[in-house]
């Protein structure tokens, strides 16, 4: 296990290096710079601005500075917001985290319950109903669900604020919208996974031992059947916690999601690379957790490494 963790961490550093490098060159290859605007400034003024942010240094030199910063986990300053990238993550990360966790908890609990129940009662009307619910979650994009929820629950019924989550009630609608798609997928994966394992020998053994169907499904089949769900939840959590551009925009939650798109459209190089490195580090850790969980749940995969 220690070897696995160490190996993963070393691999993670390599991944971080690649991400930091590629994102740097990709974004610099994109047209336009951070200080372009429709009101173009005279050349001399533009030069002064570029000088201040070292944008007129040769690209390799900017790259070296950039990598030095990444290596020291500094990431530098935003070019558009007069703040360090670290401050931005500290300020906006918790808001995305809160939203993402709420959505994830909702998706995991609701989705698994839906999926496993459907599997236990497969091919009955219960199964179909639950799967239709799950499918509705998947089928309606947050782009549609968000405005609809606002329209009904906020503008219509006045239960929740339409935007600007200041307290728990403000987070309810966005978390539901964000969690819905994941819940649907989780339900489907859980159902498929449980159905798969239900036909396997050890489950049949359990059944033959006279255990009730409920115990078989929830205790034995769920254990292996949940693997696809965990595989899915790992990256999904990272995606959720790093923020959702659409939901954060619709509900005006000042989370990190905005900056993944905003820093690209602003050409705010330090912010984008800082966020990516942060995000990838997060992802590497989560995947490590997922792999460890695999080992715990399904001892057979342990030998794989």
């Amino acid at each position: 296990m220690l070897r696995l963790i160490l190996g993963r961490l070393i691999g993670g550093v390599f991944v971080l290096f690649v991400v930091a490098t590629v994102s740097f060159f990709l974004l610099h290859a994109a047209k336009g710079g951070p200080f372009d605007s429709d009101r173009a400034v005279p050349e001399a003024v533009q030069r002064n601005i570029e000088e201040r942010y070292h944008l007129n240094d040769p690209l390799w030199k900017q790259y070296v500075t950039h990598m030095e910063r990444v290596a020291t986990l500094d990431f530098g300053h935003s070019m558009k917001r007069q703040k360090s990238v670290k401050e931005m993550i500290a300020e906006h990360g918790p808001k995305s985290l809160r939203l993402g966790l709420m959505a994830m908890v909702f998706a995991a609990i609701f989705g698994t319950a839906l999926g496993v129940t459907a599997a236990a009662r497969r091919n009955t009307w219960v199964d179909y109903t639950l799967m239709v619910i799950a499918l509705l979650g998947i089928s309606i994009p947050s782009l549609v669900l968000g405005p609809m929820f606002i329209r009904w629950f906020s503008l219509g019924l006045g239960w929740f604020p339409p935007a600007r989550a200041e307290d728990f009630s403000g987070y309810v609608l966005p978390a539901l919208v964000l969690g819905m798609i994941y819940a649907g997928t989780v339900a489907r994966l859980a159902r498929a996974g449980v159905l798969d394992t239900l036909s396997q020998d050890y489950v049949r053994t359990a059944r033959a031992k006279g255990l009730t169907e409920r115990v078989v499904v929830w205790k034995h089949a769920l254990r292996l059947g949940i693997i696809p769900v965990i595989t899915y939840l790992g990256p999904a959590t990272a995606a959720l916690i790093s923020g959702s551009f659409v939901v954060e925009k619709i509900f005006q939650i000042p989370g990190l999601g905005f900056y993944f798109v905003g820093s690209v459209s602003d050409r705010d190089y330090p912010v984008l690379t800082g966020l990516l490195v942060f995000y990838v580090a997060f992802l590497v850790l989560l995947n490590l957790v997922v792999d460890i969980l695999y080992g715990v749940i399904d001892p057979r995969t342990r030998g794989a490494r």
Binding site: A30, A44, Y53, K83, M148, A163, P254
Partner: protein, 735 residues
């Protein structure tokens, strides 16, 4: 088979639920009871890029900065300048100098008196390369601007080659190579203001004891000298000793004062420079007739070799002077009629030196900020909210009605409208409503009954199509494109009461002008088009008519173009626009349909990300595209016509017309404002007939404010004096 029925049932439910439309009331959404008549909750159109007047340029940030920082003049309720720090001003007859007379009541929020020296400091700061202000060109008319931006105009400290000490000179070369050749080689100009000290430097406020230092520069470390106390455009010396204001490049940078004598080392002192005096037109304090100035500009100025130690860059090379604490003088190179129009702008809103010095990039944050305006910043969270309260030190308390202003930074238009609808905002920033809501708000889709809390007003902006004149170099082709657009349809596409005119310089519809302005504009009430009122009842500009919709002429012009261009005649036209704004796409589709219907031209549309769009249009990688231009002051020349001069960085059509240039040059030397406007009108007529751009409409601003909001004035530049707002708890009774 009951299962497949389920999704359909669900669909039907969804349809039924979504089908319900907005409640049909007099006002758009709920009108909550007024809890605090002195607290305004204002939904702004996004996160301001900052609050430092030197670092902002967007309409999102400027009204907030204007509430925090006072100016010589401020934007009045009607958007025109009114006296504020200055009680009066004298404009020189040649329009090259304004002398502002300040009152002595103004205080910074830290209690210090606000003086003319603060304004001089801010103007120099705006232009200093270390500030790198994106708005620096807002002062591009003052003497010495061009050279100062490049750090090339200096004060000669010792007599050299017949030039007396104190002469303002420009660097023409160094180390034996001319500036132009250095530029090609991308060499950096050696900074003659670099200094070192043999002892540690205690950076502090002017005249403070060394113990009060907030930063200490280690000995031998390079600093940049910014100004010297007691010099013409600088703060007076605290005693007999001269002090130096320096910048130390550490972290975000830090500025501070030290006794000048402590700066005993000069790393660039021995560099050989070649200089000559600047033209008299750019010398502060020199008054000559325009003819004399022209003669001097034409004369050869002798070049002199000097050493770096004899040259010093100081604010006094600029046309700004503070002869005493209550007098501020600003001088322009050319006759500049718009000096007063521009005076309320952020470029002349003084910033607090003591706060800026300690934290140049972050001083405008809660806790660090020192303000001078009616409101003071107390809290802010990015992309969330900004909280301001009444400033107890503001000199004009009677003018402040608000105790608290909460600004929500909302970058999504639908969210903004929703927050207003539920009553979480008392008012929303102009035009921050989704285009698709407008037909309902304006009553077009409600049987002509607009909501009572919805207002449409003219806005100083023009929306136009840019044409790449390098590709579409045939004037008839461009004119055909212009003639074939029926602008009267635009308000029916965008539903915002847009003023669909083909003229360029924007203004107020003539039909809506005040009686006193009609005479000044020289038009009758029923004249079609718009007019720009520059000074109420005195000065007005009526743009020449544009190439209005005329399908017959459009086809004639197209035929001419086809003959003249031969095989180069384009088979189709590509129209680019930037994503992110609903209206751009609607306009693109309208243009596409019009050109296809009237001219039979196939039009391809391409939407691009904003920065890519800006880059492509600047590099002429486009055929046609959209552009908007919003003015900050009522002046056709500085705000609208100059951007299409050959050398303008904003001339995206790359149109360069000698006749236009000549007329603009001619106008630039005129001191009679009416004659000057007439000349500008001639130039604009050339521009319109050549059609490098095809104006579509004048912008309007759309406002939603709850019926209890009072004195939130809507003006043509959307610069509402926010501190004058109050909420009326008894609004229902007074209705």
């Amino acid at each position: 088979m009951r299962h497949p029925g389920m999704p359909i049932a669900a669909t039907a439910t969804a349809l039924a639920l979504a089908g319900c439309s907005l409640p049909d009331g007099e006002y758009f959404g709920r009108v909550p009871a007024v809890r605090d008549p002195k607290h305004l909750r204002y939904c702004n159109n996004g996160q301001p890029e900052g609050l430092d007047p030197a670092q902002i340029s967007s309409t999102t940030a400027t009204p907030l900065a204007h509430a925090l920082f006072d100016g010589l003049t401020r934007y009045g309720n009607d958007g025109l300048p009114e006296a504020s720090l200055a009680t009066s001003w004298d404009v020189a007859p040649d329009l090259r100098r304004v002398t502002f007379h300040l009152h002595d009541k103004a205080r910074w929020s830290n209690g210090r008196s606000l003086t003319a020296h603060d304004i001089a400091y801010h103007a120099a700061r705006m232009l200093h390369p270390l500030t790198a202000s994106p708005s620096a060109d807002g002062l591009d008319w003052i003497k010495g601007y061009d050279l100062f931006i490049e750090g090339r105009n200096k004060v000669l400290l010792a007599e050299a080659g017949g030039l007396p000490a104190g002469t303002i000179v420009e660097i023409t070369g160094w180390a034996g190579v001319s500036v132009a050749d250095h530029k090609t080689a991308k060499d950096r100009l050696p900074d003659t203001n670099l200094r070192t000290a043999s002892r540690p430097l205690a950076l502090r406020d002017l005249g403070a004891a060394p113990a009060a230092a907030y930063a200490t520069v280690p000995r031998g470390t390079q600093v940049v000298l910014i100004e010297l106390s007691g010099r013409p455009a600088s703060a007076p010396s605290p005693g007999a000793e001269t002090w130096a204001y320096v910048h130390w490049n550490r972290g975000d940078g830090v500025f501070g004062w030290v006794p000048a004598a402590e700066l005993d080392g000069q790393p660039t002192g021995d560099v050989a420079f070649r200089v000559r005096r600047v033209p008299k037109q750019q010398q502060p304090g020199v008054d000559l007739t325009l003819d004399e100035l022209a003669a001097d500009n034409a004369a050869v100025r002798a070049e002199v070799d000097v050493r770096g130690k004899d040259l010093l860059g100081l604010p006094e090379v600029l046309g700004i002077r503070a002869p005493d604490a209550r007098t501020f003088v600003i001088e322009a190179g050319d006759p500049t009629p718009y000096m007063i129009s521009m005076s309320p702008s952020r470029v002349l809103r003084p910033t607090p030196r003591e706060a800026v010095s300690r934290s140049p990039r972050r001083w405008a944050e809660p806790g660090r900020i020192v303000t001078s305006g009616p409101l003071h910043l107390v809290a802010a969270a990015e992309r969330d909210y900004i909280e301001m309260v009444r400033s107890p030190t503001y000199w004009d308390q009677a003018d402040v009605k608000l105790d608290r202003l909460t600004v929500y930074s909302i970058d999504d238009q639908a969210a903004s409208a929703n927050l207003y609808y539920t009553g979480d905002c008392d008012a929303i920033r102009g035009s921050n409503v989704p285009t698709s809501y407008l037909p309902v708000l304006s009553g077009d889709k409600r049987g002509g009954r607009p909501y009572a809390d919805f207002t449409v007003a003219p806005y100083l902006g023009v929306y136009f199509i840019i044409v790449n004149t390098k590709q579409f170099d045939n004037v008839h082709l461009r004119r055909a494109l212009a003639f074939s657009l029926d602008r009267s349809l635009i308000p029916r596409v965008l539903h915002g009461g847009e003023i669909g005119v083909a003229s360029y310089t924007p203004g107020t519809p003539i039909a809506d002008l005040l009686e006193e302005d009609l005479a000044a504009c020289g038009v009758a009430r029923d004249t079609p088009g718009v007019a720009m009122v520059i000074e109420r009842g005195k000065l007005c500009y009526v743009p020449p008519p544009g190439l209005e919709f005329d399908p017959v002429r459009a086809k004639q012009e197209l035929e001419l173009a086809r003959q003249e261009m031969g095989p180069r005649f384009p088979k189709s036209v590509l129209y680019k626009f930037n994503t992110g704004v609903e209206g751009h796409k609607l306009v693109a589709e309208y243009v596409q349909a019009q050109w296809k219907n009237v001219l039979g031209i196939d039009v391809g549309l391409e939407s691009q990300e904003w920065k890519v769009y800006l880059s492509d249009t600047r590099k002429l990688q486009y055929q046609t595209g959209r552009m908007g231009w919003i003015g900050t002051a009522a002046d056709p020349e500085s705000e609208f016509l100059r951007i299409f001069r050959c050398s303008s960085p904003n001339n995206r059509p790359a149109w360069c017309n000698p006749k236009y240039e000549a007329l603009m040059d001619e106008a630039a030397t005129m001191t009679d404002r009416k004659a000057r406007l007439a000349k500008l009108r001639e130039a604009e007529a050339v521009f319109i007939e050549e059609a490098p751009v095809i104006p579509l409409y004048n912008y309007t601003q759309k406002h939603l404010q709850k019926p209890y909001v009072r004195d939130l004035h809507i003006n043509f530049i959307d610069q509402p004096p926010l501190w004058r707002v109050w909420l009326d708890p008894d609004w229902k009774r007074k209705k």
